[in-house]
């Protein structure tokens, strides 16, 4: 059984790799197979057994779906309200009644937006601003000169980088002249460096995934490693 799954994995991997040459039916078959299997597996195995059964059916119909002492709990019918809202989403499939799904989407969007605004401000924006307020001249606790210079330099980079990057996105003043133009240019440099770091990390991530597939093909499949 394991050999079959390894062979299937290898064939599908190679089929996907054929796209590197050009688009072809083999690639499209593997792609559609992946989408179909993922959707089926997600609903039947995961969503039903790990989500719907324990936290909806098990609580609304404990006698039939709950396990252990939860079988004796009274049914929690209030959960039928979110369940009904979930079912409304399926009306997206109907042209005539698709408007019904908007109630659920608006509810979900409202909750998500509210939570995101509050928590992003609390946990990202404010701590980042607080940590950007740093002393520009630091004396290391040991009193040594080199660590003091390095930390001071690091803080200068942080402060100049933060201010110039924020300024670059300030469009009420034209970015020209010795002051505004220079600050804006420094901001561009910092942004370019951060894009470079992001690009480097992305390349590293994609190469890592390729390594994972090659370890599978050369190791698990061909036994060459």
């Amino acid at each position: 059984m394991q050999a079959i799954s390894i062979w299937m994995g290898a064939i599908v991997t190679l089929s996907i790799f054929t796209f590197l040459y050009r688009d072809n039916p083999l690639y499209r078959f593997a792609e559609h197979l992946f989408v179909g299997v993922s959707a089926g597996y997600l609903f039947t195995t995961i969503e039903f057994h790990q989500s719907l059964k324990p936290i909806l059916f098990g609580k609304v119909f404990p006698t039939y779906f709950a396990t252990g002492k939860d079988v004796f709990l009274p049914p929690n019918y209030i959960l039928l309200i979110p369940a009904a809202m979930g079912i409304l989403i399926l009306f997206r499939l109907s042209k005539e009644y698709s408007w019904l799904s908007r109630y659920t989407f608006s509810f979900v969007m409202g909750i998500s937006t509210g939570l995101t605004i509050v928590y992003t401000t609390q946990t990202s924006l404010i701590p980042q601003i607080a940590k950007a307020i740093v002393p520009l001249f630091v004396v290391a606790p040991s009193g040594e000169i080199l660590p003091s210079i390095i930390e001071s330099l690091s803080n200068w980079v942080l402060v100049i980088g933060s201010i110039s990057c924020i300024f670059f996105f300030f469009f009420s003043i034209e970015h020209r002249g010795p002051v505004y133009g220079t600050i804006s240019k420094i901001g561009i440099w910092f942004l370019m460096i951060s894009f470079g770091a992001a690009f480097g990390s992305t390349v590293m991530g994609r190469v890592s995934l390729l390594i994972g597939r090659f370890q599978f093909l050369l190791g698990d499949w061909l036994n060459w490693l």
Binding site: L20, Y21, L42, I46, E47, H49, Q50, S51, P54, I55, G58, K59, A66, T67, G68, K69, D70, I111, L115, T116, Y119, T120, Q122, T123, S124, P127, Q128, A130, K131, S194, A197, A198, S201, T202, V203, M204, G205, V207, S208, L209, L210, I211, G212, R213, F214, Q215, L218, W224, L225
Partner: protein, 298 residues
């Protein structure tokens, strides 16, 4: 010099062949490069070492097979380290296939733990576990996936067990020993010694950080390479005590637990592939500058 101009328009498929060779050849030659654990990884392991024996830890598997090469080795290493330190990992997932990922990682980590010789503990001057038999529900638990993200985690702060009446295998969690606290109180997210999320995208460690002011737990993360620049900011603000970044980070984890695995074996191919990419970028830039200077002269 026209050769340079030709290189500028090199067919991308030739580059693919070079990258494939750069990855495959070091693998076939079994090349290895030394891996030295960095500060961001060791700080996480050091914190785990300081936790009292028997402390529950939350391990959130927020990734799927697409990110396995980067995150799975780190998950295995951290779980193995926790078993060796007699901590009790509570595995959960905010990503649908996360439960399956946890299942695989637990199996591999259990194997590493069982094969750890007594001399390892003596060498580290740490107490050896009394037994090498790990029991689900007592030494670890895999609760599987639950939807919701931030609202779901917010609920766990007040009542951890409510969304988890059963574990991933369908066993009732009500009487599981792992959720017993010495005080006799009900287990909540706040009681976890540390929260570690293996994050491939959204809905991972950021969801826990968002609620950091409420659960007040120490947090660490393992993320894909793409996310490293984003998550470094959380290290700077000390919202994370440690960060395992991508495949190199996972290799560092394997070095800490002294168990080289797929991440360690992946470092040589990755370094060579990076070198090839750097060469292509340099050649591309030289060709671009040459073309520019030629146009100027013309």
């Amino acid at each position: 010099m026209d050769f340079l101009l030709k290189l500028k328009d090199l067919d991308r498929r030739i580059i693919f062949v070079f990258i494939a060779l750069a990855v495959a050849i070091p693998m076939l030659l079994k090349m290895t490069f030394p891996v030295v654990p960095g500060k961001n990884v060791t700080s996480l392991f050091d914190f785990l070492d300081k936790l009292p024996i028997g402390t529950q830890t939350i391990m959130s598997f927020d990734y799927d097979p697409a990110s396995m090469p980067e995150l799975h080795p780190a998950a295995i290493a951290l779980l193995a380290h926790m078993f060796r330190r007699q901590l009790k990992p509570i595995c959960m997932a905010n990503w649908p296939v996360g439960g399956e990922m946890a299942k695989g990682a637990l199996a591999s980590a259990t194997e590493i733990f069982r094969n750890t010789p007594e001399s390892f503990y003596q060498g580290k001057n740490k107490p050896a576990p009394a037994s090498k038999d790990l029991v689900a529900g007592r030494d670890y638990v895999n609760l599987g996936y639950k939807p919701g993200g931030i609202p779901h985690i917010k609920g766990l702060i007040s009542d951890f067990m409510k969304p988890y009446p059963i574990d991933m295998e369908g066993n009732s969690t009500g009487k599981m020993e792992i959720f017993n606290l010495p005080s006799g109180a009900k287990f909540t997210l706040k009681d976890a010694g540390v929260i570690v999320s293996f994050t491939a995208g959204t809905g991972g460690i950021e969801a826990y950080i968002a609620l950091g002011s409420e659960h007040k737990c120490v947090m660490g993360a393992s993320c894909t390479s793409v996310n490293i620049p984003k998550f470094y900011t959380f290290l700077q603000t000390k919202q994370l005590i440690g960060l395992v970044g991508g495949l190199p980070g996972a290799a560092e984890c394997e070095a800490v637990i002294e168990q080289p695995g797929p991440a360690t074996r992946g470092i040589a191919p990755q370094s060579i592939a990076h070198l090839v990419i750097m060469i292509f970028i340099t050649i591309g830039n030289i060709a671009y500058l040459y073309e520019k200077s030629r146009k100027k002269k013309a």
